[in-house]
Each structure stands twice: as C-alpha cells, then as structure tokens.
C-alpha cells in the first residue's frame, strides 16, 4: 500500500517535469508533430527471410473479419471492403505481376481527377500545415476533425523539420531538383491524388481517390513541394 504513494510521486513528478509533453504523448497519435523518440534502441540483428505465405481460404479470413469488425457502423465496414486493385495487392502481398501492375495503374489513372482550372499549385503555407497534420480517418476522431495529409509520417520534407518518418523517400528540394518542370508537376499531382496510378500497390495512400484530401488541399501540398518560396526548396 505504501507503494501507491511512491508511484503517485512518480506520476506527479512526471507531470510537473513535462506535463504538456505527457499530454501530447497520451493520445499516442503516431503521426502528431514532434513525437518522442522511441525508448527502445534499434538493435541491428540478422533475421530470417520472410516466410512463405500461409495458405488459408478467403472465406475463412472474411469470417474472422466479420466477427472482429462486424459490429462497427456499416459505413466503416465498407471502408475495409477491398476494391479491385486492393484485392490484387492483398492477394500478391503488394507484389503484382507485370500484367497485374499495368492493369492496376491504368485503372487507377482513370480515377484521377485533374483540376478543372488547370492549376496544380495552391498556397504552400497551407500545404505545410496539411503535410504536418496527421489527423483524420481514425475511429477516435469526431465530425469536426480536419483531415491532414500526414506526409511527414513517411517523408522528409523541409529540412528544419526533424520529426519525419522513413516509410517513403525524402522529398527535400523536390521542386527545385525537378526544375519546377510542368510534366513533373502533373506527375506529382497524379502521385498524391492516386499513388497507385504511378506505382501499383504503392504503400502511399490514395489521397484524392479515397476522398481523404480535397482538391484544394492537394493543390496546397503540391505548392509546398513545388513553390520556389517553399522551405522544401530552400
């Protein structure tokens, strides 16, 4: 019982020392800005190769999904219903054959809507905020949550931002390196709107096609990458 008081000392001490920090961490939003460093050192170890996939009937997997998510609201269950491309990505563990990949890219390209006004670039300052915002789409969000692009979860962008993930390549100097070329701009818009129109089974979200970001938000993020004034290109 005396232990309790000792631990409250710990909790209290923690709160005093870093109250706001602990509060930020509490939400465990992995993609919130300025995350704490991992407490666990990354140990380099040699590992076995990925084992070959275990075979199991699709109907069996579907039954498990039903019993696990079947009580979620119908619109939520619809979100995990794979479309044609996703079915192939799932079945091949993101390693489609050449023919399958071509088919995915062709059909996903048809799902890209280019801006009617022909303008690909919005406001880079807004884009910076969108790139930094990892919110939205989680069952803990409410209706008022503004979806973010979450780009920093996976990409390095402006050099001053040290809290960036490494699931995707670095995008520093993205526009400058591409000489702000019009074809590159269109290609990047396509990529962000629907990553799979460029690389089949890409791990990057399909922000436009999945209606996660609006056209304006994508334009703003595009400006963050391609405006010469953007810190990405400084």
């Amino acid at each position: 019982m005396t232990m309790t008081s000792k631990f409250s000392v710990l909790v209290l001490g923690g709160a005093l020392l870093c109250g706001s920090l602990v509060a930020t961490l509490a939400a465990d939003k992995a993609v919130e800005p300025k995350k704490a460093a991992e407490t666990k050192p990354t140990v380099e170890t040699k590992k076995a190769e990925t084992p070959p996939p275990q075979k199991v009937a699709t109907a069996v997997v579907d039954a498990y999904l039903k019993s696990t998510f079947g009580r979620a609201p119908p619109e939520w269950q619809a979100r995990i219903e794979p479309d044609e491309s996703m079915k192939v990505c799932n079945a091949t563990r993101n390693q489609p054959s050449h023919a399958e990949a071509d088919k995915i890219m062709a059909s996903e390209l048809k799902r890209v809507e280019f801006p009617a006004d022909g303008k690909f670039l919005g406001d880079w300052k807004e884009g910076a905020k969108i790139a930094n915002n990892g919110r939205g789409g989680q069952f803990s969000d409410d209706d008022k949550t503004v979806n973010g692009g979450n780009c920093y979860a996976c990409h390095q962008m402006e050099k001053a931002e040290v809290s960036f993930g490494t699931l995707g390549p670095s995008l520093t100097n993205y526009g400058r390196d591409r000489k702000y070329d019009a074809a590159e701009i269109k290609q990047a818009y396509t990529k962000i709107y629907n990553s799979q129109a460029v690389i089949a089974c890409s791990n990057m979200p399909r922000f436009g096609t999945n209606k996660f970001l609006s056209e304006q938000q994508i334009k703003d993020v595009m400006a963050f990458l391609f405006d010469p004034e953007s810190p990405v290109n400084k």
Binding site: T2, M3, K6, L10, G13, G14, L17, C18, V22, L25, A26, D28, A30, V31, E32, P33, K34, K35, A36, A37, E38, T39, K40, P41, V43, T45, K47, P51, Q54, K55, V56, V61, Y64, L65, S67, T68, F69, G70, P73, R79, I80, E81, P82, C89, N90, R93, N94, G137, Q138, F139, S140, N150, A153, V162, S163, G165, L167, N203, P205, N210
Partner: protein
Amino acid sequence: MRFAAIGSALVAVALCAMPLKSQAQDASEKEIERYRAMISDPMSNPGFLAVDRGEILWSEKRGTKNVSLEGCDLGLGAGKLEGAFAKLPRYFKDADKVMDLEQRLLWCMQTVQGLDTKDVVARRFSGPGKASDMEDLVAYIANKSSGMKIDVQLSHPKELEMAAVGEELFHRRGGVMDFACSTCHGSEGKRIRLQALPDLSKPGKEPQDTMASWPTYRVSQGALRTMQHRLWDCYRQQRWPVPDYGSDGITALTVYLNKMAQGGEIAVPSIKR
C-alpha cells in the same frame, strides 16, 4: 524507500528528456538502456501495482456461483498460473475455441463464476477513475510467466488456422489510407515520424522483444495496457473500424505475432513510453 523515490524521479527525468534527445538519438540510447534496466525494477514500475490488484481479483469470490477464478483452467489445469501465459493463445477443448488470455478470462468469469461480464467488458481499458479488472488480471497472470519463453501453440488445427488467418490479417490492406499492419511493421529500420517501428513480418529479435514485453505499463497513458489495447490502438492508426474486444481477429493476430516471436523471453509487466 528512498531508492524507489530517487528511481521514480530519474524515470520521470529520463522519459521526459527523451524527445529533446531525438537529434542525438545514438548518444542517448545507452542512457535509455540504463534507465530501462532501472525501471524494470518492481519497486519503481507502477505496472506491478496492477499485478497486486490482479492477485486480489483472481482469488475474489464473484458471480452467481460465488466462487473465485481459481477454478479457471488457463491451459495447464484449474488454477495453475505458472507458465500459462507463455502458451497463450491456445485451443481449449471445453470451449472448442482458440482463446487468448482475455477471451479465456471472460469465458471463465461467465462459466466458472456465473458472472455477467458486461461491466467487466465496459471497463476493459482503464481510464481516469475507471479501473480495469482485465488489465489487472492480465498483469498478474502474465507476470507468472516472466522469465519463461514464448511458446506458441500450433498443434491443433484451429491453432494453425489462427496463425494463418493472423498472417493474412497482418497483410490485409484497407481503410481510407489503404494501410495494413505490414505498411508500418513490414520492413526493418523504418520509423513513422520519430517512432521506431518494429518489423513484425518475420521471425526474429524485433517481434521477440515486442511480444515478450506485453502487458506493459504505458507512462504516456498512466495505465497498464494489454495486447488487446495495443492492437485496438494500431487498428485506430490504421484507420480501420473499431475491432471488437476479445474478438477472434485480434487473437489470430496475436497467435501470428507470437509465432514470429517464438522463444522470446517474457519480462512483464514492462514499462514503455
């Protein structure tokens, strides 16, 4: 007494100072390792309070039958706790089902104790002013396997099915971001923002260290958390629907993860960010 107090202060300092060190991660890793060793000391890990509470709950008479959980068989015989967690999830003949510890406890509450588990399930994850029987019981029971190795059970066909389905679920993409577990835990040395992501897609030290350290006391949440909570939280980050507590999908993933973690030496409750 004094040691514990000093320890606590150090823990607080260590855990709070870490984000500042992010730019000098390498330099700080040794330090972190030192604090880690220190905080696995039962005297300064609040997770052990949950262990104590769980011990009381385990022997408390409850339900319409007014009996304790001591008549509950976790796989090694009624009331036998030493090493039981190391072999969970496993197939239980009486229920004709593969169950993880939490599913099994709910089953025992219902069938052995005759307890209506609605309230227990409602309090599955503790919060301010809301204690969780499940978290406390898991802490107590899992602690009885500390020092033992993860021994995944794959002899019954239903256990094999669980492992296979778990692997499928691990790679199954969906949701508004097309994420799967493997998007974040599918290759080595990746991180999201600054958080290192364990590669859980192949057998090895990373899944071993991961699975052998749950349940854990999460300092950021001020609570002991179980694997059910971790996977609930990862499905949230995956932008998937809420998974049901104690559902078969979560157990399937746990079997698969334990298969990757086979042989990892259990040290729980641990303490994490």
